[in-house]
Symmetry: C2
Subunit: 466 residues, 2 copies
């Protein structure tokens, strides 16, 4: 079926493409440029182009494509906005990329039920724009304007998961095409159910390896009456982390609590003209009633002081908050502006919050010893942080050092009862760590993959692939 | 392997029991009384006794038992506290009941991380008793003092799921024994992860059909600084439901919002001496700071008034709140005291909240037309409600009417995009509705079951069984 390099046989691809072109017409492309763009992500992960890209417009089209590909043993790889950081849409065995970006309709909004149903290609910003007049919003915010299907497939989260949860908690139901072309709705619209296996949660985070997500039903939230936010400097990482732990433990419903280390603060000062003290700093946001957000902000200020931090400079003015969070979202570009010629490699560990300070401190020591440049930003309310590693792509030695560092980081997090990936997913990049992280659980995952995709055509080479 | 009635062959059972007795000694019993008690739940579901009951004390013992049973093709059925309402631990094919009640140790409490790890036989009250001095608590409260392993296995929830979620959201990690005896830890202790398939959520709600849960790691919460609560009468079901919808939509973080219809209020008045007006009534609770719970209570009072309800009579006095919630938990017994000679049958539908009033009103009409007695209580913040049907067990005609009613109710909820079971699970009782609820998803569930339990020995006859 595959040649020596593991690539699907060209004649099988050709036949599948012909059969698909019969109903997609111009919407399937074999252009080298289109294929290249659909195989390589934003990071230094090596990417393999698919043999063709199908631009689909309905679940039924996806179903027909999957049936055809299954019949010919040709891989199918879903593609959203291409903002993956772990090579999720690379096609190491070739095959057909299913580009869902034209499936971008908001199908239903149920204001009374605080939920909606969208096609997989709708992006989070598009959804929030659509919801603007309803008083509702969808909170999950991974930074990039990712597609909601892609966010579901990678179990994405971001800055306000500490308050609103991740895609795991906020996807109510999925429409997915399984390998036999069957269209499955994983749940109904009730807020909770005990009716059988949780297919929704099984597909959330499955990265296209069990089925292709074509529609997503999501929880929505009322836009808070009042939002307050601000920044709080700390003398060191430990005191910042301890203030976070106390905040969570006291049950203060913080909406965002982000750590920037002194390197990242310096980068943001330079890039976004923030004028902050260059020391470990928390960015915070509180959502609630006016009285509630004021109370929460004041209480946090007292906690910060108790741990030697502060002053906590907070405001409810939208323009000041917007500048702050824009700077936080630009952390990647701020780092990059300090190292314009370098490529970036993002790490994504998550540990129990009690181990966070220890994990960050050890990681910073390792970074210094490795001679690497890497600002740190963290969704610290969840124990999740990223080191943005900058490397010269043409310098094999430096790349090797960065790779070894990121491997040590993943194993350090796992040793602290954490995970190698808090929100980016496994893709190709984190496959080597799953054995250490899951032990015999990995065999259970492989049994599920084999049962639901016996021909191994659903995004092969990812997550549980050997 | 099985006889004509589908019962496993006695010689296989005998050999398995002998091999298990070799290391469990007196802790495996074939006494008829013990077997009877381990096969029949509290409801009118017919129960089948297992052939033997093994009282286990460790995950390793469970692993050895499962290996032995797998080798002989003998069913294994997990048993916690026996508070199931859907025949989960009935043994229609015979086999060995694995009683986990002696696995009742709290293994770890991580106060900084707000989590703990317990053996599956620990009950929720036992855990909260253990946590008393830490300032933390575990909120999920299905009424009965169920085991935490059983609650995970059935995806239980209860009165405060509207604020804290269900077992789906609150189980962080499970230890489970799979059919090959392998001991799997489904996740690590990080609050979030994107590292592969969500085995935790796959096992939560799988009712022992994929593996036996032996340990549960749970989220904990700080005991709120202030709790306020009270009751609010409404002129009719619709206005009560509309007040609930508005409360949720405004983002008021209500901790409990329970509907009792006028029949249930009458029963509670009689049983618990509440002196309430006999009209549809909401029981509410708010958790937060003192200022927060006062603000929330006042705001809810205004909402109630807007929909013709009220006055909302609330208090922060613990003794008054305790009486109220004890009465709510005693709703079952209150109903039973009105109909002492009858058996009870609990229904458990859950619908989108926008359909709740319609579903309850139609159900009450059906109840009247069917000539059945059934008070209604509902976790209405989630759209979940129960009709407690009372029947004379010796009156086949009345039982038939009740069964037909409960079937119509399940199908009514499914037609409203809801579920036949919000929190009790499928077990034996709700199996007939899964095809209507899940369509082709049921085949996906069956493929997973076949992959993880090819010999069909893990609690056979439940959920996806034909």
């Amino acid at each position: 079926m595959m040649d020596a390099a593991g690539h699907v046989a060209p004649d099988k691809v050709a036949r599948a493409v012909d059969e698909i072109a019969a109903f997609l017409g111009e919407r399937i492309s074999r252009s080298a440029a289109v294929c290249e763009q659909h195989g390589k992500d934003l990071t230094w992960n090596p990417g393999d182009p698919p043999d063709a890209v199908a631009f689909v417009q309905s679940t039924e089209e996806v179903s027909r494509i999957v049936r055809i590909c299954a019949a010919h043993g040709v891989p199918v790889i879903p593609y959203g906005t291409g903002t993956s950081l772990e090579g999720h849409f690379s096609a190491p065995h070739g095959g057909i990329s299913v580009d869902l970006s034209q499936m971008n309709r908001v199908l239903e909004v149920h204001e009374q039920d605080l939920d909606c149903r969208v096609e997989a290609g709708v992006t989070r910003k598009q959804l929030n724009e659509y919801l603007r007049d309803t008083g509702l919003f969808f909170p999950i915010d991974p930074g990039a304007d990712a597609s909601l299907g892609g966010m579901a497939a990678t179990r994405a989260s971001g800055t306000n998961a500490v308050r609103y949860g991740t895609m795991r908690e906020n996807v109510l139901n999925l429409t997915a095409v399984m390998v036999d072309g069957e269209i499955v709705h994983t749940a109904r619209r009730a807020r909770k159910s005990s009716a059988g296996y949780d297919l929704t949660r099984l597909l959330v985070g499955s990265e296209g390896t069990l089925g292709i997500i074509t529609e997503v039903s999501l929880r929505l939230y009322g836009i808070p009456e009042s939002i307050s936010g601000g920044v709080c400097p700390f003398p060191d990482i430990e005191s910042a982390c301890n203030a976070v732990i106390m905040t969570i433990q006291m049950g203060i419903p913080v909406a965002r609590i982000e750590l920037l280390d002194e390197v990242q603060v310096r980068a943001c000062n330079a890039y976004s003209d923030l004028g902050l003290k260059e020391t470990p700093t928390l960015f915070l946001e509180f959502h609630g009633t006016e009285a509630g957000t004021h109370e929460q902000s004041e209480t946090f200020g007292e906690i910060a002081q108790e741990f030697g931090g502060g002053p906590f400079d907070w405001t409810t003015k939208p323009e000041d908050r917007t500048k702050l969070w824009q700077a936080r979202h630009d952390a990647f570009w701020a780092g990059k502006s300090l190292m314009p010629a370098k490529e970036v490699f993002s790490t994504d560990v998550c540990v129990p919050i009690s181990r966070l300070a220890e994990c960050v401190v050890e990681t910073k020591r390792d970074l210094a010893e490795s001679g690497l440049f890497g600002p740190i930003v963290g969704h610290v309310g969840d124990g999740n942080f990223h080191v943005l590693l900058f490397c010269d792509p043409s310098d094999a030695e430096e790349k090797g050092r960065a790779k070894a560092f990121s491997e040590r980081l993943a194993m350090r997090a796992i040793a602290m009862d954490g995970t190698c990936t808090g929100e980016h997913g496994v893709g190709v990049g984190k496959k080597p760590f799953l054995e250490a992280e899951h032990g015999p659980g990995l065999q259970v995952m492989r049994a599920i993959k084999a049962a639901l995709d016996p021909g191994n055509i659903m995004n092969p080479g990812k997550i549980v692939a050997v």
